[in-house]
């Protein structure tokens, strides 16, 4: 037996620390999180690991005000679906951004952050969040 979540998080560190998904070279589609089978090509598919550039736009978002205990200290926080430049979407928190400033279409980039803690003495989970590119590079 392991501490709650240790193995579960450890085995996907590559993806959640470094945005590694995969790419089907048969149909030229990118997947994040990585898929075991390309749903378009299935057995004809050929999947290779792919490290995403970490750039994208906000596709939709919500301001979370009621959260489970693990996230309570962070409310209100912004959750969004980010559409990556490679064409796939993922769900992530938006940081370095006031809640009134986030909008659909906002340009964002990935950053490495603490995601949550599993209670007082539990595992600390790290991984990707996203932040507005403007704040970091000064470019729109």
């Amino acid at each position: 037996m392991s501490e709650r979540g240790v193995a579960q998080v450890w085995r996907k560190i590559k993806s959640i620390y470094n945005l590694v998904g995969n790419h089907c070279t048969t149909c030229n589609t990118y997947y994040f999180p990585p898929r075991p089978v390309c749903p378009t090509c299935r057995r004809k598919g050929h999947l290779e690991d792919y490290k995403f550039k970490g750039l994208g736009i906000v596709h939709t978002f919500a301001i979370v005000r009621q959260a489970p205990d693990d996230f309570k200290r962070q409310v209100p926080y912004i959750m969004a679906q980010v559409e990556l430049d490679e064409g796939t979407r993922l769900t992530a928190q938006i940081v370095n951004c006031d809640i009134q400033d986030v909008h659909i279409g906002m340009r964002v980039r990935a950053c490495f952050r603490k995601i949550t803690e599993y209670g007082q003495s539990g595992l600390i989970v790290y991984g990707y969040k996203f932040e507005p590119t403007m704040k970091v590079t000064g470019h729109p």
Binding site: P33, H59, A62, R65, M79, Q81, I104
Partner: protein
């Protein structure tokens, strides 16, 4: 020639926060009512299916099939639970439908149940979250309301749907629940109260959201021949269909459309040889009110993006063209997750028999239920007729 499948009896427990009742109590209650209603005897029942999402996490008890057979005193008959998140109840109904259709069983007891108030609110919220893609949505802080806020925000942006529209669904469903004695909230709410209720995840407010509920519902399903022995008012299952979609909302082609609902409803209309205009009453799955709006569109009551307009015109109220959620829906009847899909069928059977009292849709002959799991990764549709 395949045989028709009928519903000969229905039963339902009171929905709500039932502190004095256990999962066993409410499940037994709904099952007994269904058995009495159909006037079958225990020895007629050949098998049990029970829809339940997560009794293990909500109450610490699994293995509900055997539990139901035991508590009901039904002896050694086969009994199993079926899980498809919020569509578990619909899955149990469909499971019985396929077994009876195939000739494996003639008479089955179908149950749906969930006891959600035995754990803390945080634990309940966490348990509901596992209906989405936990590893890639929930882990990162996306609560269940968050995911429906994603849909609502995008629907507002693309089609001009407003916060008033989200609230109008609540107002309509609560008004219907006033006349449903089994509903959790038999109480009308004004739009103003909805619009000023607490925010869960903007733009989703507490009063756009189905509650945490305890409750159970039951059916006696059987072959047409058997139904004629038990009752003069059998209701027939004209179509039972199911479709799947990506588990995570972010992997969908379009987050404003639940493709699984589109596919399963199209297939159901085709099987029943009906169109949306032939259906007299609908039970839709609004775990959050935005999903009632997207379902109007996805089952073909209007074009994509015009769900809000349908509400503006009042077309989904009792007495109008497409009465939806006459029971009060998930919002006001309550949403004990595994019970919901069965409770929808209970409501529609009452409507088709003319037993829905003050919420009766006059002359209802065909009815449709849409039961979804998660954010639309499962959709189960039933069309009933008398």
């Amino acid at each position: 020639m395949t045989r028709r499948v009928a519903i000969a009896g229905v039963g339902i427990s009171k929905f709500g926060e039932l502190w004095d009742k256990s999962l066993r109590d409410i499940t037994l209650e709904a099952g007994m009512y269904a058995i009495f209603d159909a006037q079958v005897s225990g020895k007629d029942i050949e098998a049990i299916t029970i829809g339940n999402m997560s009794a293990g996490r909500f109450t610490g008890q699994e293995h509900l099939g055997a539990l139901a057979a035991d508590m009901g005193g039904l002896g050694h008959i086969p009994a199993y639970s079926v899980e498809a998140a919020c569509a578990s109840g619909g899955a149990a109904v469909r499971h019985a439908y396929t077994a009876i259709k195939a000739g494996e069983h003639d008479v089955m007891l179908v149950l749906g149940c969930e006891k959600m108030s035995d754990v803390s609110q945080t634990e309940a919220i966490n348990t509901i979250s596992v209906a989405s893609d936990w590893e890639w949505e929930g882990l990162f802080g996306a609560t269940f309301p968050t995911l429906f806020a994603f849909i609502a925000r995008r629907h507002m942006k693309e089609y001009g749907t407003t916060e008033e529209h989200l609230g109008m669904v609540t107002v309509k469903n609560h008004a219907n629940a006033v006349h449903n004695p089994f509903a959790q909230f038999q109480k009308a709410v004004p739009l103003e109260a909805v619009m000023t209720s607490g925010l869960l995840a903007d733009p989703i407010r507490v009063l756009h959201s189905s509650p945490i509920s305890d409750g159970a519902a039951g059916l006696i399903m059987c072959s047409e021949e058997k139904a004629k022995q038990f009752t003069d008012t059998p209701v027939f299952v004209e179509a039972s269909t199911q479709a799947s979609d990506t588990l995570a909302l972010h992997d969908r082609r379009d987050i404003c459309t639940m493709d699984a609902v589109v596919e399963s409803s199209k297939a159901a209309y085709k099987k029943a040889k009906l169109t949306p205009d032939d259906i007299h009453v609908f039970e839709l799955h609004e775990s959050f009110t935005i999903s009632e709006i997207t379902q109007y569109e996805d089952i073909g009551l209007c074009k994509k993006g015009e769900g809000g307009k349908l509400l503006d015109e009042g077309l989904t109220e009792i007495g109008a063209k497409y009465p939806c959620n006459t029971s009060g829906g998930l919002k006001a009847r309550g949403h004990p997750v595994g019970a919901t899909g069965v409770a929808q069928i209970v409501e529609l059977v009452l409507q088709l028999r003319g037993d829905a009292e003050k919420r009766q849709v006059q002359g209802a002959e065909k009815a449709m239920a849409v039961n979804i799991g998660g954010t639309g990764a499962t959709s189960i549709v039933h069309i009933l007729g008398r």
